[in-house]
């Protein structure tokens, strides 16, 4: 767990253990445990049951997958505001009458592949515009966020498309060793993301590009091509999340994934990834997503309103970022 990628290894290794990456992860785990303790005290059996753990994990799965892709983008110094809309577009495109008919004729995975292809394509378009068109990521992905939602509305005619392909439904409804397929998908994406981030050149380049793009270019990294891949990856995770959403709701609609980009960015930032880029953590992101999902769960168990929950979420984000800034200041001052 302590093997986070260090953006500036020299600076971080000199600071104390607690302000290092391991310390940050420990802090997040403590927060998660505290929240769980509150859940057990207030909810008792209703909170501390295997069924409830699965409920929390299922809730976290969709945004969790998005957050893995977002971690790469933010670490590379960018932002992707389009993930929620692209998710919606993927659910719609993967569930049109044409796609479903094709899936019936060939194989249900046609729907899955459609969702993944739509997501990846949207991500690559983002990447092209940002890397080669030199448009600021905020603007480029804002444009995609608006356009993808519009396209989803056009394709669906703003109707809800119900999935009727049995193979697909059987797959997403299934359990494997007592754990729902949706949760497995989240686990697989998280583990693959962790490996890609921490154990490959792709991950190290992502950190380098986010830390200092110019230095990376001088060091021989093809920065533009790398950014293209990073946004493509974010699009791919949006496509995967879209397929998962389709499985969870068995319905494709243009309103799917509304405001998810904000929820996902919040989880990534709370997890300890720096919004200015150059430092990221997949483990932190996963815990960040779990904290928000558990918060929703604890609030629901205690009959508290969504409005109060949103206030709590806001406070958590601010506190997390304040703590991060303290660490960041310390590591740059040493």
């Amino acid at each position: 767990m302590s093997t986070q990628v260090d953006a500036s290894p020299a600076a971080e290794s000199r600071s104390s253990w607690l302000s290092g990456p391991a310390g940050r992860t420990v802090g997040l785990v403590v927060a998660l445990v505290l929240l769980a303790v509150v859940g057990v005290i207030t909810g008792g059996e209703r909170f501390a049951s295997l069924d409830n753990v699965m409920t929390i994990l299922r809730l976290a799965s969709v945004t969790g997958v998005l957050a893995i892709g977002m971690t790469f983008v933010i670490t590379a110094g960018g932002i992707d505001l389009s993930v929620g809309s692209v998710l919606g577009l993927a659910t719609v495109w993967a569930s049109t009458l044409a796609t479903q008919t094709m899936a019936e004729d060939l194989h249900w995975t046609v729907m899955v592949l459609t969702g993944l292809a739509v997501g990846t394509a949207a991500g690559l378009i983002n990447g092209l515009i940002i890397a080669y068109g030199k448009v600021v990521a905020f603007i480029a992905t804002l444009a995609m966020m608006i356009a993808a939602r519009g396209l989803a509305e056009m394709i669906s005619g703003r109707q809800t498309q119900v999935v009727q392909v049995d193979g697909f439904l059987d797959f997403v409804r299934a359990d494997f060793i007592g754990v729902p397929v949706l949760v497995w998908m989240f686990i697989v994406v998280a583990v693959a993301g962790w490996f890609l981030f921490n154990r490959t050149t792709f991950g190290r380049r992502t950190v380098a590009v986010g830390g200092n793009a110019e230095a990376s270019r001088l060091a021989g990294i093809k920065v533009q091509r790398h950014l293209l891949y990073v946004y493509g990856l974010s699009g791919l995770t949006a496509g995967i999340a879209g397929v998962m959403m389709l499985g969870r709701t068995t319905a494709g609609t243009s309103t799917n994934g509304l405001y998810y980009e904000l929820e996902v960015i919040a989880a990534v930032v709370v997890g300890g990834t720096l919004l200015i880029g150059g430092r990221g953590t997949i483990v932190g992101t996963v815990i960040g997503v779990l904290i928000f999902a558990m918060l929703t769960n604890v609030f629901t168990i205690n009959n508290l309103s969504i409005s109060a929950q949103n206030v709590a979420k806001g406070v958590i984000i601010v506190v997390a970022v304040l703590i991060q800034q303290r660490f960041a200041a310390r590591s740059t001052s040493t």
Partner: protein, 355 residues
């Protein structure tokens, strides 16, 4: 009417097959109207039913309730009336999960209700189709689900369904406008719809069109807003720009109607009359005071979820509904969409809601 009183008289008889959906409409509306009164006063119109004691405290019932975020007045009133109704019963414990407009979160709330093993679930889904899967799961777990307002895509997902009559709303509005304009086939009729993607909007528009064509009128101009004040204002100012002379307007939704009225006043137009929709208290006050173009509104009951709570309790207690002879709570209950005018507005003020 006589048929219904006969039903009431012989309400002891049971074991008849329960497929009485249509006939129950008015009965349930009556129940909804009285939802603000204490349980003892309930059913004063049908003393025999009260004697049978549907409101007598029984076994404790834990009801899980989830509805979309209260981002407009009607939705706020839905939740409020459901909570108020649950509080009237000493044997009802309400677990309220106030959902966002995020189906992912709403699904997890229903999953939580299933884990908790509640006795019944009253669910107003953000999207009926998207919540069908998890509602079916609850039914499979032996928890009766009462579906409110937005229908599931499978009949296996709910034990009972309470619906407003969207098509009927359109018909009521169209018929009223016909009565007012009937002798003038060239009259210009405009329509301000809600969110166009929702099936309920399409149903309302279809009913409106059908009723108008009955008297030789048609919809000359149509715009769609989004149930918000802001959206209503924008859509209406565009409409008024495009149509220099209008005779009648039907606005689907009184929440967006606040914006619609603002746009009309800004444009200084008053050559037409307007019919509202849903039945907010503000609109009823305008109708009563006769101080605006608003002449009427069509009720879309904001007491539907309260009906759902009552039905959930009856289902768990295995009792019959109100004046019905047949055994069991009906599968589908569609509520009535009456027209409120200056003549009868006092009768409906009690079920109006604040935008």
């Amino acid at each position: 009417m006589s048929a219904r009183t006969e039903l009431a008289r012989s309400s002891r008889r049971r074991r008849t097959v329960a497929l009485a959906a249509v006939a129950t409409t008015a009965v349930l509306l009556a129940a909804g109207c009285t939802s603000n009164e204490p349980p003892e006063d309930e059913g004063s119109a049908a003393p025999q039913v009260a004697a049978e004691g549907n409101d007598e405290p029984g076994e404790k019932v834990v009801i899980g309730f989830s509805a979309p975020a209260a981002d407009h007045g009607w939705m706020g009133a839905i939740t409020k009336s459901a909570v108020d109704t649950a509080e009237q019963y000493s044997d009802v414990e309400l677990r309220q999960a106030e959902a966002t407009n995020d189906v992912n979160v709403q699904i997890s709330q229903v999953e939580q209700f299933i884990n908790d093993g509640v006795d019944a679930i009253v669910l107003l889904p953000f999207d009926g189709a998207a919540l069908t899967e998890v509602a079916t799961k609850a039914m499979d777990a032996g928890i009766p689900v009462i579906n409110v307002d937005r229908e599931f895509s499978s009949p296996f997902a709910a034990r009972a369904t309470v619906l407003g009559d969207n098509y009927g709303m359109g018909v009521s509005a169209g018929t009223y406008i016909c009565e007012q304009l009937g002798d003038n086939p060239d009259a210009v009729v405009a329509e301000i719809a809600g969110i166009d993607s929702l099936p309920l909007t399409q149903d309302r528009s279809k009913g409106f069109k059908d009723a108008l064509s009955d008297c030789g009128l048609d919809v000359d101009a149509r715009v769609a807003a989004d149930f918000t004040v802001q959206g209503g204002e924008t859509a209406t100012s565009n409409l008024l720009q495009a149509e220099p002379k209008i005779d009648a307007i039907w606005n689907h939704d009184d929440d967006q109607g606040v914006g619609v009225l603002a746009a009309i006043e800004n444009a200084g137009r008053d050559e037409f009359f307007m019919v509202g929709g849903a039945g907010s208290l503000d609109v009823m006050e305008h109708i009563k005071a006769d101080d605006s173009v608003l002449q009427a509104t069509v009720i879309y009951p904001s007491t539907q979820a309260a009906d759902g709570i009552k039905l959930a309790r009856l289902v768990v207690h295995d009792k019959n509904m109100g004046d019905l002879v047949s055994a069991g709570v009906p599968r589908t209950t569609q509520l009535y969409a009456p027209v409120v005018t200056a003549d009868n507005v006092d009768q409906y003020m009690s079920i109006g809601f604040r935008s």
